[in-house]
Amino acid sequence: MSRFVIATPLFLGLVLGAAGPVQAADSKQVFEFYCAQCHGMDGKGRGINVTKDFATDPRNLTDSTEMAKRTDNDIRNVIKEGGPSINKSALMPPWGATLSAAEVDGLVTYIRKLCDCKGN
């Protein structure tokens, strides 16, 4: 019995410990696959698509001052509905039909790490 009581938290700890980094890596992969083409691998808004023909500046996601003005829900919505949903450029397309809710939530968490900020 006592061995079981000790072993269970140990097992849970291993599982939870393993789940954290895996989820973080997944969100990084999602960001780099979908978002980095415009926002850049580092999130600073200078992705490969940002040429002289790109009609706007993609958000610098590491700008903590600007990003702190957005709530998590704002970020979630603009990912899903696109720029026009907040009167921003349609060059930010709607990803709601492409990404799962969990992937969008993961991106919000990842973007908060990039800006090292919280939404007001």
């Binding site: 696959f33 083409q37 490969i48 698509n49 492409t98």
Partner: protein
Amino acid sequence: MRVLAVTVNLGAALLVMTSTPGYAAGGEAIFKKSCTSCHYTDGPAKEKTIADQLAKKGPELWYAGSKFKKEWLLAWLQDPQPIRPLKYNSLTENNPRNHPKLSAGDAAAMTDYLMGFTSPEVKAGVITPKETAQGKHTFVKKAPCGGCHEYPEKGVARGGKSGPSLVGASKRLNPDWIYAYLANINVFKPVRDMPDFGSVLNPEYLKKVSAYVATFE
């Protein structure tokens, strides 16, 4: 008895006809020998995760016969010029411009082989290439395709780099495939870095923008 023999023979003949591939055997042999490290023709789409897509070295070809124009494919295989500004699946490396060239004979066999891979999702005769104000507006403003794709403007390639170039789309792409792809992208490419516009734009917008892209020189 005679009726039975005729029926059996007819059945056998039909079986042979339906099991005969609609492409030249030479093309299949070349494909299996030289192309399978980067491409696959046995659809439907296999990719389920981002990792699956990233593992690919080149585009899937299981709907090539619905996607490409035959004359373009025949010429391109003999003189392959980059379609993507960047290396496949890369956002940092330029296209290495190293697609193998085929001889005229091999290109003809390969073209016949690849044109045999069609998708029932692509309905013929839906899209006629045409520039309309609505098509251009959708391309430029509503769902700005040029953010990720090169497009021609007065003979100059402009626009983004991450997607395949749309310069020369009128020669390369079947207009009906452009529409089918936009309308039902998950069938063709379930994992890709392009949004599903078929879920957010109505079919009329998709048809007009497909017709517009199909005019690109």
